[in-house]
Symmetry: C2
Subunit: 310 residues, 2 copies
């Protein structure tokens, strides 16, 4: 017990004893056994992050910011990639639960959760971007981008565009639906006619957006485009650059997300910028201290329209 007390910094140890213990422990290369401490009931200071992937610009930046915040809070961060697959998600939650992770930040996979609810016992659960009610999370951290997306339409209209297309994520996702609606709101606010044939939603893949926008350029059905997704924005941009649409043909474009090269590609890209770092810090704050009385259940962060190509 004296050794234990010396090692954990308990005050009731004679200084000479403590020093001797510490010195000897160091000599022997002693390291605490986290499993034994956990078994006694302590926190593990391990938190999980469940992401569909980590190549998407948003996820990569979020993972980075969260990893940084975790270092600061001396939490260990376990990353699981789910591929948006409910089964993988359930497995990942189970494994985190087994090691008694203190909490988990997750982008819930779309669709219904697996029957037989996932094991999240004793973990603080924070939903990110998307959310789901079965089982309900402890907290939810969301992006509010409707004003920025409507603003994107206004921006393009101000530049003289009237046939504006939209490429966004699947309307099966709550976020996909909300963004498409925001786009339509922007269209109406500008007194433009509804053009459902210029609204493209589907899988949020780079290749999908690439081929859709390539076709759009061929037909010439629109002179401008708003994107409602990170990967989609990359795919659209690829098509636009290959067709030399931005500089050459004055095609209007507002991207989604803000990878560093958006600032210098073309003449600089106007884009819907998401405050990734504040999101991550809040998420970690909720995990580190879930019982703060000031804690709201839902936390909203506002995306802003970053104007560049004026």
């Amino acid at each position: 017990m004296t050794v234990s007390r010396a090692l954990t910094g308990h005050p009731n140890v004679q200084k000479a004893t403590r020093d001797a213990v510490l010195r000897r422990a160091h000599e022997l290369g002693y390291v605490r056994n986290a499993a034994a401490r956990t078994m006694r009931g302590g926190r593990t200071r391990i938190v999980g992050l469940l992401l569909p992937n980590i190549v998407n610009e948003f996820y990569a930046r979020f993972a980075n910011a969260m990893a940084l915040a975790c270092e600061d809070a001396s939490l260990q961060l376990i990353i699981h990639l789910t591929g948006d697959d409910p089964e993988t998600e359930t497995m990942a939650l189970a494994r985190l639960s087994e090691i008694q992770a203190d909490g988990v930040v997750m982008v819930p996979a779309p669709g219904a959760p697996l029957p037989g609810q996932p094991a999240t016992a004793n973990m603080t659960v924070v939903h990110l971007i998307r959310t789901r009610d079965t089982p309900p999370p402890d907290f939810s951290v969301q992006i509010e981008d409707d004003k920025a997306i409507a603003g994107a339409v206004a921006h393009l209209v101000a530049k003289g565009h009237s046939r504006i297309a939209y490429v966004g994520a699947d309307q099966a996702l709550s976020s996909g639906r909300a963004r498409a609606t925001a786009f339509q709101k922007g269209i109406r606010a500008a007194n433009l006619p509804d053009t459902p044939e210029l609204i493209f939603t589907g899988d949020a893949t780079l290749d999908g957006a690439y081929s859709q926008v390539s076709r759009l350029l061929e037909t010439g059905a629109a002179t401008a485009l708003v994107c409602g997704g990170f990967e989609l924005s990359s795919g659209a941009l690829k098509a636009l650059m290959e067709g030399d649409a931005l500089r050459g043909k004055g095609f209007g474009f507002v991207g989604y997300g803000d990878p560093s090269f958006y600032s210098w590609i073309g003449n600089g890209l106007t884009t819907v910028a998401v405050p990734v770092e504040p999101l991550a810090r809040r998420a970690v704050g909720l995990l580190a201290d879930p019982d703060q009385p000031s804690n709201q259940k839902t936390h909203r962060f506002t995306a802003t329209l970053r104007l560049r190509d004026q």
Copy 2:
């Protein structure tokens, strides 16, 4: 014991008993206690990844690939960001050691390790890209890019360039030194004169490369550039695009790494492409099965010159 046996799939349990146990466990929402199993001496199936950061294109892709490989191998992946700081690195290793991680893949921080060697007891240690001898790792996974870099010079010479600059990482890093040497070898192979004034090495930051290349464009001291680092390549590219050097002035450029937009930016960028996924799979393979008799200590992966702007 019967319950334990039923739960772990031990054969000596009557089918009826096993089914009853499993059913009841499910009803109760039972989850295994990983801490207790670990204390009994089992593997934790947790592995660590120590990276300077995760915004750098290589690290981000490596983390992604390794996370994927870990899902496949049902390993849990803990990511620690070190910022190339030896102290943070030592702390991270200690925490992984405390939870008895099975192994760790790390990019060792440059410079001497902290006195009082880091706690890596019982962990398989794999060094990535860089390596260090104190303490020696169990394995080392390295990139062999000298031929690709020399090839980059040859490529630019074939396009008619004779004043070729190099922007690379600090020569204090083993990798930085090796790449600069490879560049010089390429210069000599082309029978060009040594031009130490066109070789820039220093901190591998985007901003550093950006300002160096901006200045280079102003002076006009070179007509082409080879990059020897991921972040540097991004910074150089930013300066080149802003100065409209690639398309407008026919400036020659070979980048480093292969983020997706290199394929469609400008006319497509020739670049030194690193086989990130194979690296990650090998690293995970070594962690998952360190005692394979076929295992080499050092594993080299060859970077290739991806020709695009011909």
